[in-house]
């Protein structure tokens, strides 16, 4: 039973983290981990001007914030559900598009995240400066 238990747990954990075996994969996995929260911050910052999914995707990519469409679209929905974004369908053009805009609560959260980002940056600078 214990063995089975270990196998089950281990398989699930492996599947979730997809442990890479070589260095490139390892770096990519850690970079992804490090950047995860920054997409939220970037989206909340950019969407102070209303925008739709694909435009935001291109904007973020253009500014060096690599994000997968399969991450970004569900993220926008989640942020809307959390009240950080508000949306509106724009049917003026040929193609109906859902325009998202950062809500006041979203702007407040983005501010808090940004403050923390700067604090982390400062902390890491101090830490690396202290290193021999």
């Amino acid at each position: 039973m214990c063995l089975l238990h270990y196998c089950v747990t281990h398989t699930i954990v492996s599947a979730m983290t997809t442990e890479p075996t070589h260095d490139d994969g390892l770096l990519a996995a850690h970079l992804q981990e490090l950047r995860r929260g920054t997409v939220v911050l970037a989206a909340l910052a950019v969407l102070r001007e209303p925008g739709y999914g694909y435009a935001l995707l291109e904007q973020l990519t253009g500014h060096g914030i690599a994000v997968d469409a399969n991450t970004l679209y569900p993220l926008l929905r989640r942020l809307e559900k959390q009240g950080l974004l508000v949306s509106e369908w724009n049917t003026d053009e040929a193609r109906p598009r859902k325009f998202y805009r950062t809500s006041p609560a979203g702007a407040e959260l983005a501010e808090a995240l940004m403050t923390d980002w700067r604090r982390l940056d400062a902390s890491l600078r101090h830490l690396t400066a202290e290193m021999p």
Binding site: A69, Y73, P74, R77, A94, R95, K98
Partner: protein
């Protein structure tokens, strides 16, 4: 389809109907299982927007429309997975919240029921005079069948709970820690006694029906009224299984208010099932009573048994509460 109509002002968008059907099929596949119509329409519009935008971008990159559409849908991936991510539906059967609770209950339920079924089957088969081979094959076959059943239903219940339970599931607290093994102390003795009693009781129940030693014209005469199997006796069997699970719980958690109150509930449930049968004198098989010539005695007999059931129920209920008050939940280590 409730999809947004492609603008007639841009006919180049839909030159080939076969191409648009691929997107249509994707959107349909992704949203057909969404129950709420509002949500489905919204999802359809969102997916269509995303697909069309992706196609346009790929076309701008030099692909023809057909391969752009194919590429866009390939990048999107399995439609059901996309929808699940959009709707924040779990992509697992049982997640981290309930995984260990599920595992614990699965192990307890299977390890309680399978041996009981095995014991009952072996007793019945032996009483029926079957060969050793038949006894073993039949017993283990039924035990495995019951284990599979129990595992399936437990898992099904957890899979449903995973999807309907609100996020604030009961948090783990240190009170849930099991007692240290007490080296055959009181807790383990209680547990073994309970399980043995329950197995014997369950076995007797099956034996009186299937292995009754009383024969009329070579046919076995069950001691209890066969009409009671549905639903009373099955309820009793169910309660026996719950009692066994409860015994394990008491062994792990000691006597606490939850275990004591569950104990009261189980005792009362047993009385509720059994007492009406006794009071209406429906317990014994009329054929068996007639055979023994007990017609004049059953009324008195069942009343005495009913009184016994009441006393045992009250005793059981109070005993659990008293042991909780005495604090027999700690210090056993």
């Amino acid at each position: 389809m409730t999809s947004p109509a492609p603008s007639p002002s841009r006919p180049t968008d839909r030159k080939d109907t076969r191409m648009s059907t691929l997107t249509d099929r994707y959107v349909y596949a992704a949203t057909r299982l969404v129950q709420s119509e509002d949500e489905r329409k919204e999802l359809q519009l969102e997916l269509r927007e995303r697909i069309e935008d992706t196609i346009s971008a790929l076309e701008a990159g030099g692909l023809d429309r057909e391969s752009a559409e194919r590429q866009a849908l390939t990048d999107l991936g399995d439609p059901l997975r996309v929808t699940a991510e959009y709707r924040q539906r779990p992509l697992h059967l049982i997640g981290p919240r309930f995984f260990y609770m599920w595992l614990r209950i699965l192990v307890i339920a299977v390890s309680v029921t399978a041996p009981i079924v095995l014991a009952i089957n072996v007793l019945v088969a032996v009483a029926a005079g079957e060969t050793v081979g038949q006894v073993i094959v039949g017993g283990f076959g039924n035990a495995i069948a019951v284990a599979i059943h129990v595992a399936f239903w437990v898992t099904l219940v957890f899979a449903v709970v995973e999807r309907v339970a609100p996020d604030s599931a009961d948090a783990w607290t240190p009170d849930l820690l099991p007692q240290l093994p007490s080296g055959g102390g009181r807790g383990r003795a209680d547990l073994i006694a309970s399980i043995v009693c329950l197995v014997i009781f369950g076995a007797l129940l099956a034996w009186q029906h299937l292995g009754s030693p009383f024969l009329v014209d070579g046919a076995r005469v069950p001691i209890l009224d066969p009409a009671l199997w549905v639903p009373e006796l099955w309820l009793v069997v169910g309660l026996l299984v719950l009692e066994a699970v409860h015994a394990f719980w008491v062994y792990r958690a000691g006597w606490t208010w939850p275990t004591a109150l569950t104990n009261v509930a189980l005792s009362v449930a047993f009385a509720v099932v059994v007492l009406p049968v006794l009071l209406q004198d429906r317990l014994l098989n009329p054929a068996f009573v007639q055979m023994q010539g007990w017609e004049d005695w059953t009324g008195t007999g069942t009343m005495i048994v009913a009184a016994g059931v009441v006393i045992v129920t009250v005793w059981e209920s109070i005993a659990g509460v008293v042991r909780t008050l005495r604090g027999e939940n700690a210090g056993r280590a």
